[in-house]
Symmetry: C2
Subunit: 188 residues, 2 copies
């Protein structure tokens, strides 16, 4: 096993365990066991647990946004693409291991004590916000709709986590559609 594969296996195990049980609740030994990577190598690749946490957040940020944009960008630009974001959320919420937004969870655990993790969370939410802003622009919609749409998506994530029911994504979608409809009709 070379270093690159060790890194992948560590991040795979870390992502599954951190997301499923929480970051502080998972020990380094559990990640070692789950990944099959020796402790020595683990500390070569990630000199401390917080480095591993940061790498976990960064890789998840990349993959999560890629999955969302891959789904939404397949729809025609315009209102439809904006609403597709909520369809994607609905599918995500329905996954059996869904446990809310990993970044919101991480912020609640570490936001007060780990500045690097807090910054990663801010960066992730900023990227999501920017993506939604781009969708609005493509749809010919004013940026004044950005906050409402973003907040509906955020609220849907935490609510779906707590209630365990994915349908809230569809209600958020309806609300977003209503806001789009109540604004001046778009050029698209």
């Amino acid at each position: 096993m070379d270093q690159a594969e060790a890194r992948t296996r560590l991040l795979d195990a870390a992502e599954r365990l951190f997301y499923e049980r929480g970051i502080q609740a998972v020990g380094v030994d559990q990640i070692r066991t789950a990944s099959g990577v020796s402790l020595k190598r683990l500390y070569q690749v990630f000199p401390s647990k917080s480095d591993l946490v940061l790498a976990y957040l960064q890789r998840r940020d990349t993959r999560w946004l890629a999955s969302l944009t891959g789904y939404a960008d397949a729809r025609p630009a315009g209102d439809e693409r904006i609403l597709a974001v909520f369809d994607w959320l609905h599918a995500w919420f329905g996954e059996p291991d869904f446990r809310g937004c990993a970044f919101v969870n991480a912020f609640g655990e570490l936001g007060a004590t780990d500045p690097a993790a807090a910054e990663a969370v801010r960066a992730h939410k900023g990227a999501l916000r920017d993506y939604l802003g781009g969708l609005l622009r493509l749809a010919g919609r004013p940026q004044s709709l950005l906050d409402p749409v973003f907040l509906l998506a955020e609220g849907a994530m935490t609510t779906a986590a707590i209630t365990g029911s994915p349908e809230v994504a569809l209600r958020a979608r309806d609300a977003a559609a209503a806001l789009l409809a109540s604004a001046a009709p778009a050029a698209a």
Copy 2:
């Protein structure tokens, strides 16, 4: 110091520390030191840390909702009272020790491992939702607006925590006002 005062002092210290730094990050000894209550009495009142955590969540639930309803119910019933919820959020977000919704934070930390804590979070969010539903009814508004308004409030809480800026409450308020305006005019 009698048992009742010990309980109050313990909960005061626990609430401040748990909310400020996170639950798992705060040890029982720190709560003992901050409260001035002896360890022996602490374990008489709360036989385990998870009992203390639960009491913390329950007392905060009561107080938080009482503060919100006390503020909003002072406004005339109708749309104005609904929007007052966001004004209250705005004031809360601006407090110097604001660190997001204690229940969302607790759920991220403990939701997967502490069923009693998870249930307390669900109960709290259910109570907030019910309160908003009552405000809509009083305003003569359809319950179809409940999810949008609730999700805007939820989204505002997590976003304010992560970005640190209270203004998002006002944007959520604007969005709620737009949704109310786009629906059929209320009797009130």
